[in-house]
Symmetry: C2
Subunit: 190 residues, 2 copies
Amino acid sequence: MEQTTSEKILDIAQSLVIAGGYNGFSYADISEAVGIRKASIHHHFPTKAELMQVLVERYTQRARAGLKAIGAHVPDPAGQLRAYLAYWEKCILDASQPFCVCAMLAGEMQMLPAPVALLVQAHFENLAAWLASVLKAGADAGLFRLDKTPEEEADMLMACVHGAMLSARALGNPGLFAAIVGPQLERLKA
Amino acid sequence: MEQTTSEKILDIAQSLVIAGGYNGFSYADISEAVGIRKASIHHHFPTKAELMQVLVERYTQRARAGLKAIGAHVPDPAGQLRAYLAYWEKCILDASQPFCVCAMLAGEMQMLPAPVALLVQAHFENLAAWLASVLKAGADAGLFRLDKTPEEEADMLMACVHGAMLSARALGNPGLFAAIVGPQLERLKA
DNA sequence: ATTGATCTACCTACTAGTAGGAAGACAAAA
DNA sequence: TTTTGTCTTCCTACTAGTAGGTAGATCAAT
C-alpha cells in the first residue's frame, strides 16, 4: 500500500473543502470518492471537527515546510517571493489546488469549530510573518523599496494573493491570478 | 407596515450568507430569526435557489446604485475611491456588513446554482469596470500615476479589497482592512 | 487472542420542499 | 349593508432525503 486510507480521506476532504468549504461537503461525499463506507471514515476520524482539525494541521504544516524550503533553496528575497507566487500560479492554472484551504475557511470563520478557526488564524499569521521576513531581508539588501513597514507590506501582499485567487475563481479566469499578483512583485523592486 | 416580510427574509438571509455562505444557513435559521414558520418562507421564495437569486440581484443592484451615487456626489476620482473604501471600512468596523456577499459566494462558485453564479460573476465584472473607469478618469486628470492599464490596476485594487476583508476576518482584526487598503490608495497618487 | 479496518444496519436531527387549511383584507355583487 | 368570492399570508402537518454519528458483526493480520 502506498497511501493509507487516512491520507486518501484527507486528500479527498481537502479537495472538497477547496471546492465548497466546511459546510460544502459531507462524509457521504468522502465515502463515495474514497470508495469506503461512511462508517469507516468515522473509524479514522470520529467527528467532522476532528477530521478538519487534522486536515488543516497537515495543510499548515506543509505550508510551513514549503516556505522553509523556498528559503533554503532560493538565495535572494525577490526569487523567494517569485517562487511563492509561482507555486500558486501553477496550482491555479493546472487546477490541482485552485484555492488556499485556509483562505477558503477564513470566509466561514464564524461557523468553524474553535480549534479549526485557531489553526486558520495561525496560518494567516504565519504566512504574513514569512512574507514580512522576506520583504525585510530584501529591503535590508537594497533590493526592495518599501513604502511601509515589512509587516504592513506583508499584510498587503497576502491580501492581494488571496483576493487574486477569489477574482480568478469568480471570473472563471485562472490567468487573472498572475495578472494581479505579478505587478505587485514588480513594484517592490528598488 | 414599514418593512415587508419578504424584505425581512432577505435581510436575515443576507446576514446569514455573509456569516457562512450558501451552505451555511437553512430555511430553519431564517424562520427562527424572522419569527415565522419555515413553510411561510417557501411562500415568499419557493426554493433556496430562487431566494438566493433575488438576494444577490438585490445586492448587486444596490451596489451599482451605491457606486453611481458616489460618482454623482463626489467630484474627484481620488475622493470617489476614498468614498468606496470608507464605505467598506465603516461596514467592517461596526460589523454591520463585515463581508461582501459576492466575495463570500465567489469562494463557493462551483457549488452555486448557475443563475446565482452568473450574478456573482457579473458583480465582479461590474465592480472592476467601475474601478477602472475611476482610475482612468484620475489618470487622465493627472491625479493618478498608473503602472498598468486602468483595467489591470482595477483588478489589482479589487483583489486587495476582497483580500483585506478576508484577512480582517481571519485575524479577527477589523482595523486591518483599512491598514491594508489605505496604502493602496496612497500609492496611486501622482 | 487481540487488534485494526471494514462492513451492514441503524439512529436522531435536520434538510428543502409540499399539501391543505384558517384568518384576514378587499372589492364586487346582492 | 351584508354577502360572496378572491387574494395574500401564514399556519400545522407532512414527505423524502441527507446530515453526522453509533452499535455490533466480520475478517484478516499480528
